[in-house]
């Protein structure tokens, strides 16, 4: 029996990759938590509490760029949780103390909030940067176009009626003497 060819279109494959990206962060995080639970159950407990914004977002996020948003919040949340996690791993009995300290909680969730801020600020910054890059590119395009006009005359932009069409004899690439 002939082997069935993979006929999935490229665009669909790209979409599938994006979904895979989403699912990569979640499983990794889940695996890390399990690993941490084996190594340090207290640490895993703190991580569950500290990473609550990420976990909630991961479970509830919808719409486009879900993965990026989750990752933004997740990485910042991890960054905020990590110093306390080190402390709990070193002294597991401090779990309750660390977890109930409002400043600690504010720090961990605040880091998550910074992640959220990045989600909102990032596109703004990107839009500004892209706008500025587009201006540069427009300048470049104008220069290129000007060079083409100088070389080929205004007909190249379709200024003259005669320049619109390629001469009939040149169509089909007939060669002299052919």
């Amino acid at each position: 029996m002939a082997k069935k060819k993979d006929v999935t279109p490229m665009r669909m494959r790209r979409r599938m990759n994006r979904r895979q990206e989403v699912s990569m962060f979640g499983p990794l995080l889940f695996a890390s938590l399990i690993g941490l639970a084996i190594f340090s159950p207290s640490g895993a407990g703190l991580a569950l509490i500290g990473l609550a914004p990420t976990i909630v977002l991961g479970l509830t996020a919808k719409g486009p760029n879900k993965s990026e948003r989750t990752q933004c919040v997740g990485f910042m949340n991890i960054a905020g949780t990590m110093p306390f996690l080190a402390q709990v791993i070193a002294r597991p009995n401090d779990l309750m103390f660390v977890a109930t300290n409002p400043i600690n909680l504010a720090t961990m969730y605040g880091a998550g909030a910074v992640g959220y801020a990045l989600v909102y600020v990032g596109p703004m910054v990107a839009a500004m940067v892209m706008q500025s890059m587009a201006q540069e590119r427009i300048k470049n395009i104008n220069q290129q176009k000007q060079a083409l006009i100088e070389l080929w005359g205004p007909e190249v932009i379709g200024d003259k009626d005669g320049g619109e069409e390629e001469p009939a004899w040149a169509k089909g690439g007939r060669h002299p003497g052919a």
Partner: protein, 668 residues
């Protein structure tokens, strides 16, 4: 027109104010001439008419080895003549007999001609010339009383006039042509055989004897009927006998049956007095039963064929109205109408329905060939010997006789000609050979392509004919080299717009060059695009200049370069335009058209330019689209901005987490 006289023209002084009518022929006008290098020599100049083909092989053989008792050509060349404006013409210089023509152009016989001279000098001199001519492998075919001259004013030596300035038998009076050839149209008699020369000698002697232009003032059909019924000798003399030995000679020479006609040996025997007078008879051309056609009863099948030929429409109606096999059986009891012959003749009665169809003309021609197998091809009111078609076509073009050209084109039907050849295969084997010789030429006839058509047939059949295009009426173009030089001069003096689209010029080039048809097809295809026509024309002329190893043609190159102006102007790429213009200026000075096309292949450049222009336009459109896309305001909500912003945010968060992780676990 060349500005300078040729070396030939410098040597011979041609006095166009002193015409010599006795030497003038249909092929050219004779004038008094002087050889500056040999002032005492008696010569005359024949200024050829461009529309009449010459017998070039005759010139070559006579020039290399002149024949005694014949007016031989001495030299020929192109000369600028002042005759109704300056014109370049081919001129042949001939030895000039000074004793005068035996029969003057005024219609009077030379007073020095008498029976004794005819019997002693004229016959012997003519015989010497004819025998020598035949020994060289060609026939004279212009042995007319008006074309025989006394060599000197006091001697008895007689010379035959030249026979090279016009085709064999071309428009020779009906009575002076042997019966078989005379039936054909006057421009289509063909080469004929050596017997034809002996007939002409006999007819010329007869006219000289009676001192009358016996060929004048008589209706062709009545003379033909008389010649068939009574024999040419009696018919032309009007029933008058020539007594004595001279009468025997003339009667022998004018015998209508070729195998009964006297030959050179018979004439020699006659000189020695041992010749037995040959009996002249009218052989097997009679039908067993007369046929009534147009209220005339015909017994001779040649006459019936000629009557059919003169009125093919009536003949078609007649043939379709009879039971043809029964008619053949009753009229030609000696002949068996085989099934094959009947199928070849293909005479079908149409039951009186419809008029004359084009195929009916062919049917009449086939029946005529059956009736007179050794005669000409009778077709649509004309009678041609196929080897005389070249002259007929040249004459038709000279007179712009489109009807005749159309008839010849219709005749170029290989199947039809083959059927004619098969009908007469037993009695006329030459026809099949002639049809075979025509085959590669006639395929061009019906073509509308530039370089083909009937013009091509004209030049293929008459290789010696100059280009008779109206564009070159003042110049003589006998070769592609001459054509190129003429174009160079034309370019110097005026416009040469569309000159390559001239059908005559194209046909002339195609006939004289090889593999030029494709080039002319390209030229014809570009006729509506002047810029392209110029560039293709330049390529073509450049190729000719190289192929024929021509000298630099400055004016032509300059004109072509100027003509390329629009093409160059049409080039879109500025840099390329400047480069090509600079190169053109350089080539213009050199006069080498070939360089113009090799170093500067305009067509290729045009194609390249158009292709690159098209690419540039696509690039501009792409840039425009991109600019339009970039010109709009980018918002954070845009998909791209959002994706990028989130992506950057993610990486930032990642690095922050890595940094914090590093600081927490590693540095602590």
């Amino acid at each position: 027109m060349p500005s300078n006289q040729s070396a030939f023209g410098e040597r011979y002084d041609i006095d166009t104010s002193a015409p010599l009518p006795e030497f003038t022929t249909l092929g050219g006008d004779a004038f008094k001439a002087t050889d500056k290098e040999r002032p005492g020599k008696d010569i005359y100049a024949l200024v050829h008419h461009p529309s009449i083909p010459l017998r070039n092989d005759v010139y070559k053989t006579l020039k290399s080895r002149p024949i005694a008792n014949l007016v031989n050509p001495i030299d020929r060349g192109l000369v600028n003549l002042d005759s109704k404006g300056i014109k370049q013409r081919l001129v042949t210089i001939f030895e000039r007999p000074t004793g005068g023509a035996l029969f003057g152009p005024d219609g009077k016989v030379n007073p020095r001609v008498n029976t004794n001279k005819l019997r002693q000098s004229v016959v012997l001199s003519a015989l010497k010339a004819i025998a020598a001519v035949h020994k060289r492998g060609f026939t004279h075919r212009r042995i007319l009383p008006s074309n025989m001259f006394f060599a000197t004013s006091d001697g008895d030596e007689v010379l035959l006039g030249e026979c090279y300035s016009e085709p064999a038998g071309f428009k020779v009076p009906f009575a002076l042509e042997p019966l078989k050839l005379a039936i054909a149209d006057e421009s289509s008699r063909g080469e004929g055989g050596i017997e034809a020369d002996f007939y002409q000698l006999g007819a010329a002697l007869q006219s000289l004897y009676f001192g009358e232009q016996l060929w004048r003032g008589r209706d062709r059909n009545s003379v033909l009927m008389a010649r068939v019924n009574q024999g040419s000798y009696w018919a032309i003399s009007g029933g008058r006998e020539i007594p004595g030995a001279l009468g025997n000679l003339i009667r022998g020479l004018m015998a209508d049956e070729e195998d009964e006609r006297w030959s050179a040996e018979d004439v020699l025997d006659w000189f020695e007095g041992v010749g037995k007078p040959k009996r002249t008879s009218m052989k097997a051309w009679s039908m067993n039963r007369p046929t009534n056609f147009k209220s005339i009863a015909y017994v001779d099948r040649r006459l019936l064929a000629d009557a059919f030929a003169r009125d093919p429409r009536e003949a078609a109606v007649f043939l379709k109205g009879i039971d043809f096999p029964a008619w053949v059986q009753l009229s030609f009891r000696d002949e068996i109408l085989t099934e094959r012959l009947e199928a070849l003749l293909n005479v079908k009665s149409d039951g009186g329905l419809g008029g004359v169809r084009p195929d009916d003309y062919k049917m009449v021609a086939r029946v005529c060939m059956f009736l007179h197998p050794t005669g000409p091809v009778h077709f649509r009111g004309h009678s041609f010997f196929l080897d005389g078609l070249a002259a007929t076509l040249a004459d038709a073009f000279a007179r712009d006789d489109r009807d005749l050209i159309g008839v010849i084109l219709d005749l170029f039907d290989e199947k039809f000609l083959n059927s004619l050849a098969e009908i007469c295969t037993d009695r006329n084997t030459q026809l099949l050979t002639q049809v075979r010789a025509l085959r590669p030429i006639m395929i061009h006839g019906a073509s509308k392509q530039l370089g083909r058509g009937m013009e091509r047939v004209l030049y293929a059949l008459n290789p010696i004919l100059p280009c008779v295009s109206q564009k070159f009426t003042n110049v003589w173009i006998g070769s592609i080299k001459q054509m190129m030089r003429a174009l160079d001069r034309m370019a110097e003096n005026g416009s040469m717009k569309n000159v390559l689209l001239d059908r005559h010029l194209a046909a002339f080039c195609s006939a004289h060059g090889s593999d030029l048809e494709r080039d002319f097809s390209k030229i014809a295809a570009a006729q509506n695009d002047p810029a392209r026509l110029n560039s293709i024309g330049a390529e073509f002329l450049g190729m000719l200049q190289r192929r024929f190893k021509l000298e630099p043609l400055h004016s032509l190159t300059e004109k072509l370069v100027d003509g390329l102006g629009p093409s160059i102007k049409a080039l879109k790429n500025k840099k390329r335009r400047e480069r090509v213009t600079a190169l053109l200026e350089k080539v213009k000075k050199g006069g080498d058209i070939h360089k113009l096309t090799t170093e500067l292949n305009i067509s290729r450049i045009q194609v390249e330019d158009a292709r690159e222009f098209s690419q540039a336009r696509t690039a501009v459109q792409k840039l425009d689209r991109e600019r339009a896309k970039l010109s709009r305001k980018i918002l954070p909500t845009d998909v791209d901005a959002r994706a990028k912003g989130l992506s950057w945010g993610r990486w930032l968060a990642f690095f922050v987490s890595v940094f914090i992780g590093f600081m927490t676990f590693v540095s602590a």
